[in-house]
């Protein structure tokens, strides 16, 4: 809590979306706490998590919004999409219906975020391979057809969870570097913070000491 607000150079906003019971909150918990929460209560409304990661020597704070999966919450969860730099779209590899609903989640993600938002498809519960209901190959194909990044993960064992969150950040960072993501655009989902750390390299020419730089 006392860690100064300027110990990182960027803030990226993520959202996690997908059907109820696919393991969104468990993925978040695994990523932020490195633990599997077996009795994870269902999310009502929205939950949050943060973690500071490092990409190419830059410290980045991830602000992760974990949404309720039940259909009727969509009327309110839609407002959380605004200004997300990354969207993790999750299905459960043991339940085909959660995979079948992906197109509707993708439509929401596309319509409610900006064109540069990185969308990462996660097939969760990869530890339950024996009960698999969706093959890796077809999900991979779906991801390729829609230009999504894709991994199968397990919130239980932790397999690939780290990679999914980090790869998303790397892609966002790359988009910043090559200029395709405009930091000054409203709702880019990225905030650039002046850094007092040893690496205090201010990439963009933003003025430092901005108060209220909230763009999310």
């Amino acid at each position: 809590m006392a860690a100064g607000p300027y110990n990182y150079s960027y803030i990226f906003k993520y959202i996690i979306i997908g059907d109820m019971g696919v393991g969104k909150s468990c993925l978040l918990h695994q990523f932020t706490e490195k633990k599997f929460m077996a009795d994870c209560p269902h999310t009502i409304g929205v939950e949050f998590g943060t973690r500071i990661i490092e990409v190419a020597g830059q410290k980045i704070k991830l602000q992760i919004w974990d949404t309720a999966g039940q259909e009727r919450f969509r009327a309110v969860t839609r407002s959380y999409y605004r200004g997300a730099a990354g969207a993790l779209m999750v299905y459960d590899i043991t339940r085909r219906t959660t995979y079948n609903h992906l197109s509707s989640w993708l439509t929401d993600a596309r319509n409610l975020t900006n064109p540069n938002t990185v969308i990462f498809l996660i097939g969760n519960k990869s530890d339950l391979d024996a009960q698999r209901d969706v093959t890796y190959d077809e999900a991979k194909q779906f991801a390729e057809e829609n230009g999504l990044m894709f991994l199968e993960c397990s919130a239980k064992t932790g397999e690939n969870v780290e990679d999914a969150f980090l790869d998303t950040a790397k892609k966002i960072y790359k988009n910043i570097q090559d200029g395709s993501l405009d930091l000054n655009a409203a709702e880019s989902g990225v905030q650039h913070k002046p850094s007092n750390g040893p690496r205090g390299a201010n990439l963009g020419g933003e003025s430092s000491g901005n108060k209220d730089p909230c763009s999310c």
Binding site: P5, I11, K13, M20, G21, D39, C40, P41, H42, I44, G45, V46, F48, T50, Q63, A68, Q70, R72, F73, A75, V76, S79, Y80, Q191, K211, D212, P213, C214, C216
Partner: protein, 378 residues
């Protein structure tokens, strides 16, 4: 530390043995954050007995008391209903007791035969429970009950699921059959579970029905329209209580839906320790939904004192603060006192309600051609 003789109120508990798992009087495991061990002194026990007597008398002639002496009931609800009578009092307050059910529902065509039946409430519950239910909904419900209050003995014991899970599934299934238009919403789970910690299955069912019909009508409906309306009302009431927070939250584009849904939908069962939650429910059953607003406003005020507010540099900071209330506001006596002192009255609430309802209707008229949903606009 002395045990009062003949204590029938189950308020007194032995301190937990260090090695084995112990549960508090509501069934919460000693190693979880909701656990609440309560030691009652003799003086408190005497006070409690007096209070129980008052409540017993009141319940004995309930109809007359509620009709003629409502302020007295309100005052006593604010002071807290004694634990031993709480479930009964809640049911009387919301009219989910057998007598009311028989009168209210016994005249409906399906239930004519139950009109004179003493067990009407129980039988009608069974009728709903055994009705045909959409198997997909049953699956959704069953998937969720396993994640409800896993630290409570009613639902989990020694790492294994316990009887409460089945009761909870039953209550929720019966509810979707009784109120098919509302159907199953995940927010009902914690409310039903908390009721089950206090009363048997069919009573919990009827109380849930009354809560949804009479208190938070529409909160669980598809589209969450009423909840969204109340969210806007809450947002606009903040200015009366904590103008600085109101200003800053608006400036940082904090949306009420980002912090109040769980509070209101679960009636604070996931926010407060259970003794505080019970006190909130005591008032809620008596005074209705405005209690939720009061509690929410106190929470906002206490989570965002001026110095904290100043340190918040973005919306995420504010939301994080609102999710971790300081310890003192979680204590029942402090919270209730703050609720009483709040500079917001019914006039403010009603004024905001009218205003936000107008706004919402105006928005809906504009958006109707897009979604074609005219059923809610009237």
């Amino acid at each position: 530390m002395t045990t009062p003789n003949g204590n029938s109120f189950c308020m007194e508990e032995e301190p937990p043995a260090p090695s084995e798992t112990h549960h508090d009087m509501l069934g919460f495991r000693s190693d979880c954050s909701q656990y609440h061990h309560r030691q009652i002194s003799i003086k408190d026990t005497k006070k409690l007995r007096k209070r129980e007597n008052k409540w017993l008398k009141m319940i004995g002639k309930w109809d007359r008391t509620i009709e003629r002496r409502f302020p007295l009931i309100r005052k006593r609800c604010r002071k807290g209903i004694p634990f031993s009578l709480r479930a009964r009092a809640w049911q009387h307050l919301c009219k989910s007791d057998n007598e009311s059910i028989r009168i209210r529902f016994g005249t409906e065509e399906n239930f004519e035969s139950y009109k004179e039946d003493k067990d009407a409430a129980y039988k009608m519950y069974n009728h709903y429970l055994t009705a045909n239910t959409n198997p997909e909904v049953v699956m959704e419900i069953k998937q969720d009950v396993g994640r409800q209050f896993p630290n409570n003995k009613l639902f989990y014991e020694n790492g294994k699921s316990n009887l409460g899970q089945e009761s909870l599934a039953n209550v929720l299934i019966a509810f979707t059959n009784a109120r098919p238009r509302t159907g199953y919403c995940q927010g009902q789970g914690p409310v039903a579970a908390f009721l089950l910690m206090h009363m048997p299955e069919h009573e919990a069912f009827w109380t849930l029905i009354r809560i949804c019909d009479q208190y938070i009508c529409g909160y669980f409906d598809d589209g969450l329209r009423t909840l969204r309306l109340d969210a806007e009302i809450l947002m606009n009431l903040i200015k009366y209580v904590h103008p600085k927070a109101s200003k800053k939250m608006k400036a940082m584009d904090v949306r009420p839906a980002e912090f109040m849904i769980e509070w209101f939908m679960c009636l604070f069962t996931r926010t407060f320790p259970w003794p505080t939650c019970e006190r909130i429910w005591d008032m809620f059953f008596c005074e209705g939904v405005k209690v939720l607003f009061r509690v929410a406003l106190v929470l906002i005020k206490e989570c965002l004192p001026n110095d904290v507010l100043k340190a918040c540099t973005n919306k995420f900071d504010i939301l994080s603060k609102l999710r971790s209330p300081p310890a003192k506001v979680l204590k029942e006596d402090y919270l209730i006192q703050q609720c009483k002192e709040l500079p917001v009255n019914e006039y403010h609430m009603e004024k905001e309600h009218r205003k936000q309802l107008r706004n919402m209707r105006a928005c809906e008229v504009i958006s109707v051609p897009q979604n074609g949903d005219t059923s809610e606009v009237n």
